[in-house]
């Protein structure tokens, strides 16, 4: 499903990733664990098509994504990849429903279809009564659930989450991980989650440990 081959990346003299090979199967929940500076976020950005490796390639559904043109890559990202961030990153001027619809609208889905799909997802995530609320009117957990719904709206092949629970209390952290599991069961969704929380990592199918730009286990 998602495959990284021989990925290397440097920033100036500092080599952040060193010949990384990684493979993630469909429907798998994988966590990438490591200390600050281990290179886990850089790896996530390269796997998520936001950055290019200096060496190596990334295949998603068999396509070598970094060979695509900028506009094709943007389209590919829209259709096949979802993102969840540490700080939800909802747009303050939009309601929960509109935030959720945003990737669908960017992808050219008409407003009606995008709206009904967003409602369905938000209802599944227990936010049916919060559709018209702006982010400032939602709790931290609710914001993150809206962010998860937004990541799922285009039925992506994989969802990349960068420290998704970093800004949540322990109760919401547990709930978020349960949500990922239930989404995998319901939609057969693949998740790649970057975290430094070992407890969270323990709940995933597989944990990849990184240190100094290398996968150590």
């Amino acid at each position: 499903m998602v495959e990284g081959k021989n990925i290397s990346k440097s920033f100036g003299d500092l080599q952040v990733l060193k010949n990384i090979d990684i493979s993630i199967a469909s429907g798998e929940i994988v966590t990438i664990l490591g200390a600050s500076g281990a290179g886990k976020t850089t790896l996530l950005q390269i796997l998520g098509s936001l950055d290019k490796p200096d060496k190596g390639e990334v295949l998603i559904k068999g396509s070598s994504i970094h060979r695509l043109s900028e506009s094709s890559l943007a389209q590919f990202r829209n259709k096949n990849i979802g993102f969840v961030f540490q700080f939800h990153q909802l747009l303050p001027e939009f309601t929960a429903l509109e935030n959720c619809m945003l990737p669908a609208l960017i992808g050219g889905v008409n407003k009606k279809d995008a709206g009904s799909k967003a409602k369905e997802l938000l209802t599944f995530l227990s936010l049916a009564d919060r559709l018209e609320h702006k982010p400032s009117e939602l709790s931290g957990g609710e914001k993150q659930r809206v962010a998860v719904a937004r990541a799922l709206i285009n039925d992506p092949v994989v969802v990349f989450a960068d420290e998704p629970s970093g800004n949540l209390d322990s109760k919401n952290q547990e709930e978020l991980m349960s949500l990922f599991v239930s989404l995998r069961e319901r939609f057969h969704q693949t998740f790649v989650i970057v975290t430094h929380d070992r407890h969270l990592a323990s709940q995933s199918d597989r944990t990849i440990n990184m240190k100094d730009g290398l996968i150590v286990t």
């Binding site: 936001l50 506009s71 389209q75 829209n78 990153q89 939009f94």
Partner: protein, 810 residues
């Protein structure tokens, strides 16, 4: 995503950041409003005399050549030229305009002094198709026809239809009103209240050769007629000149025979005729005797540069204001990019936002223009109505301009935002290259410097205006008025003048043909002891009280002794400029003879007996004209009486004077002007230019203030992390403020420093046009530059203080 979604996003962002968005909108609206006003002015100046349906084929003839040592370069031509040109091949119509003197117009229940009275040929309205509000142009063929303008009709007849009414003038010719035409458009070099068929007066003058006006008939040396030609399609200026050159020998023979009849040596006089397109007159004519003072094309160029500059400043301000708070939009851009929005789509979104901004700003600007137009018309001395400007083609131009402005201003933010890396932008930290920061700073320096220059120039102009007003003009303008005597019957006037002496407020009074504010006509003289040289002197006829009433001092010699005058020999005074011109000193004796007497036996000799101070007639920015004063105390000949009141009795004097006029010359309003107002009128254009400069200075100040605000906000955003760290380390707020604005202060100081030599150069360049100017001291620079510096720092520190507080406490 559909456009509507982008527009909705725009409005939501606008409301979310309403204070800053409103500031951006106001800056854009002011920029567009000023651009529109300047555009309207440039458009107006370029549209002069293009309203006539055949304006491309209408030309005006002009005269050039030599008269002895003087050059002829006049917009007016001999009246006889029209008859000759009408016979030329390629000419469809010739029509003439002869300005009449100020005269009393009488009708049933009407008696009014009118100064805009013209005589025109009967085909005038065939060439200049003014719309007839009532009557029709065919009736103007009758010899006694007169057409009046709509505003004149309303002024004299109110709601009454004036068609068929009779109007009489001082020469005894009676005219019948056959039409009322719409007023001449403001953007025409022609304008009149009355247009009488020339035919009646011409017939009268041919019968009454004794009348002075009869001299103009068939006289090639009498240049008082404006001759317009409508050329056939395809016959341009060059082709017509060629045709005229071919017919030149016929013209020459007419001219030469005219010279001979006027006792002029044909070898000393040469008169040539040229033509110029009517729409070039206003901007490109360099001829004398224009009906309306032309405008220099330099103004149009300067205003076009101002237009481009204001547009540039507006666009830069928009860019600065939209990107100053960029971090607030970074996350939005990042999220959109994360979820697959391509760069093109983001550019599209930001461009649409810029265009929506521009369209709203244009609407606000149009409202501003509507409100400002009356004041703008007053300052620029033009007549533009918003309804006249906003016709369909212009509206399209406004929209095009707005769209262009939107696209131009939106292009940079669009490229800037769309080029952000999402993984960097999502953190909300500002990543701007150092050269970008420097460029922004230099733009602020440029705007501060330019505004400072304009403020120095405005202040300099104000000082020069004050200097001109207070400078020596050769007369004392305080406590004196001028009464126009040209408006009523001789007997009544004589009675009025005699009774003047009974006013207890009166100090002096005196009469003259010209007073300051008039431009005395030039007359040709020869020295009695040197007949080879023609000397052109401005001539004024005055009585014995005139110089005292004006407060003009005798510099040398003595006054005229009228008792010594006879029909052939008279005493005369000259001014200092004439004394220099003629090389006259009080110890000398000098006599002048008038050139062009009626016969060789009829030579008039003038003995110069004294020298008077230069009495300025048009202001001291022009050199003083050599002038001769002759004695005349005939009320019918002299047009004005100058009355000087005793110190502090001016107000009651005017009251008594008006009462006296009412009692003696009861049928007309008194035409009274204060000498102070006349003097003020000399500098009307300078005052206007100074107001315009101040106006643009203030606009530039306003636009620069927006730039300063955005720069200060940007600097705080740029250094926010450092400011935050310093704040945690308990740095006092004052230090945070100084740290955040240290570069800003440097750029403001740079702008002010650059303004010093530039404004010094420009001010001296402008003052070079004046014969006399004020002493440019240091404070002329210090006051405006210090004001600019203080305003910049105040606006910068206020903005930065607000931004830092927001960053620290949010």
């Amino acid at each position: 995503m559909p456009i509507l979604t982008f527009i909705r996003t725009f409005f939501r962002n606008f409301i979310l950041n309403r204070a800053y968005s409103l500031l951006t909108l106001i800056a854009l609206s002011i920029g567009i409003a000023v651009s529109l006003l300047v555009l309207i002015y440039v458009y107006y100046e370029l549209s002069y005399d293009r309203n006539w349906s055949d304006s491309g084929n209408i030309y005006r003839a002009y005269s050039f050549g030599d008269l002895g040592d003087d050059k002829i370069n006049s917009a007016s031509t001999p009246s006889v030229l029209g008859t000759v040109l009408a016979r030329q091949e390629g000419v469809e119509e010739v029509t003439r305009v002869i300005p009449g003197t100020r005269k009393v117009v009488r009708g049933e229940g009407i008696k009014s002094m009118e100064s805009s009275f013209f005589y025109v040929d009967s085909n005038f309205f065939e060439v200049f198709d003014l719309p007839f509000v009532s009557g029709n142009k065919d009736d103007f063929k009758r010899p006694d026809a007169i057409v009046i303008s709509l505003s004149t009709s309303q002024r004299l007849f109110g709601e009454r239809n004036p068609i068929g009414e009779t109007l009489g003038t001082q020469l005894g010719v009676e005219y019948v009103i056959v039409g009322v035409v719409g007023d001449f458009p403001g953007n025409s070099h022609l304008s009149f209240d009355f247009a009488a068929n020339w035919c009646s007066l011409e017939l009268l003058l041919r019968r009454r050769r004794d009348l002075p006006q009869a001299a103009m008939l068939d006289n090639w040396l009498y240049l008082n007629t404006y001759t317009y030609l409508k050329l056939a399609e395809g016959v341009g200026e060059e082709a017509f000149d060629k045709l005229l050159a071919e017919a030149r020998h016929k013209l020459d023979s007419s001219i030469v025979s005219s010279y001979i009849s006027q006792q002029e040596d044909p070898g000393r006089v040469s008169l040539n005729i040229g033509i110029q397109p009517i729409h070039d007159i206003h901007l490109f004519s360099e001829l004398e005797n224009e009906l309306k003072p032309p405008t220099s094309p330099l103004y149009v160029k300067v205003f076009t540069i101002i237009l481009l500059f204001v547009l540039l400043m507006t666009a830069l301000n928009f860019i600065n204001l939209t990107t100053a708070k960029a971090s607030r939009r970074y996350k939005e851009v990042a999220v959109r990019k994360y979820f697959g929005a391509g760069r093109r789509k983001l550019i599209y979104q930001f461009l649409i936002e810029a265009i929506v901004y521009s369209l709203i700003a244009t609407f606000v600007a149009l409202v501003m223009v509507e409100l400002l137009l009356p004041a703008f018309n007053r300052v620029f001395d033009i007549e533009i109505s918003s309804a006249g400007f906003i016709k369909q083609p212009d509206t399209i131009w406004i929209l095009v301009l707005t769209m262009l402005l939107g696209i131009t201003a939106g292009a940079y933010p669009a490229v800037f935002f769309s080029g952000l890396k999402p993984q960097v932008a999502i953190k909300g930290s500002m990543k701007v290259k150092r050269w970008g920061v420097v460029l922004r700073g230099l733009l602020v320096s440029f705007q501060v410097g330019l505004t400072a220059c304009l403020l120095v120039l405005s202040f300099g102009m104000y000082k020069q205006l004050a200097f001109l007003r207070s400078a020596e003009h050769g007369f004392n303008s305080d406590n004196a008025v001028v009464v126009d005597l040209d408006s009523s019957e001789e007997d009544a006037l004589e009675q009025f003048v005699v009774k003047l002496e009974s006013l207890e407020e009166l100090a002096f009074y005196g009469r003259g043909v010209y007073v300051p504010g008039d431009d005395p006509g030039l007359v040709s003289f020869r020295r009695s002891d040197d007949s080879t040289q023609v000397l052109l002197l401005a001539m004024n006829h005055i009585d014995e009280g005139y110089l005292d009433a004006l407060g003009a001092e005798l510099q040398a010699g003595r006054r005229i002794d009228a008792a010594k005058n006879n029909e052939f020999r008279q005493e005369a005074l000259i001014n200092e400029a004439a004394a220099d011109f003629l090389g006259f000193s009080a110890k000398d004796t000098m006599s002048l003879e008038l050139v062009g007497g009626r016969s060789s036996d009829d030579i008039q000799v003038f003995d110069i007996v004294g020298v008077v101070a230069n009495i300025s007639h048009t202001g001291i920015k022009n050199s003083d004209r050599p002038m001769i004063f002759l004695y005349d105390d005939n009320t019918q000949d002299v047009r004005y009486v100058v009355i000087r009141f005793k110190e502090g009795m001016s107000a009651s004097g005017v009251e008594a004077l008006t009462l006296l006029w009412g009692n003696t010359v009861s049928d007309m309003h008194i035409e009274l002007s204060y000498l102070n107002e006349i003097k003020e009128g000399f500098y009307k254009d300078d005052k206007r230019f100074s107001q315009i400069s101040l106006m643009f200075g203030l606009v530039a100040l306003l636009l620069t203030a927006f730039s300063i605000i955005s720069m200060a906000a940007f600097e705080v955003q740029y250094y926010r992390k450092n400011i935050f760290i310093r704040s945690i380390m308990a740095a006092p707020f004052r230090n945070l403020l100084l740290y955040g604005l240290r570069n800003f202060c440097l750029y403001v100081a740079l702008g002010i420093a650059a303004a010093i030599p530039v404004s010094d150069f420009l001010l001296h360049l402008w003052l070079d046009d004046y014969l006399k100017s004020f002493n440019v001291s240091l404070y002329v620079f210090i006051i405006p530059l210090a004001s600019m510096l203080l305003i910049s720092l105040f606006a910068g520190f206020l903005t930065a203080s607000r931004e830092i507080k927001r960053e620290l406490y949010s």
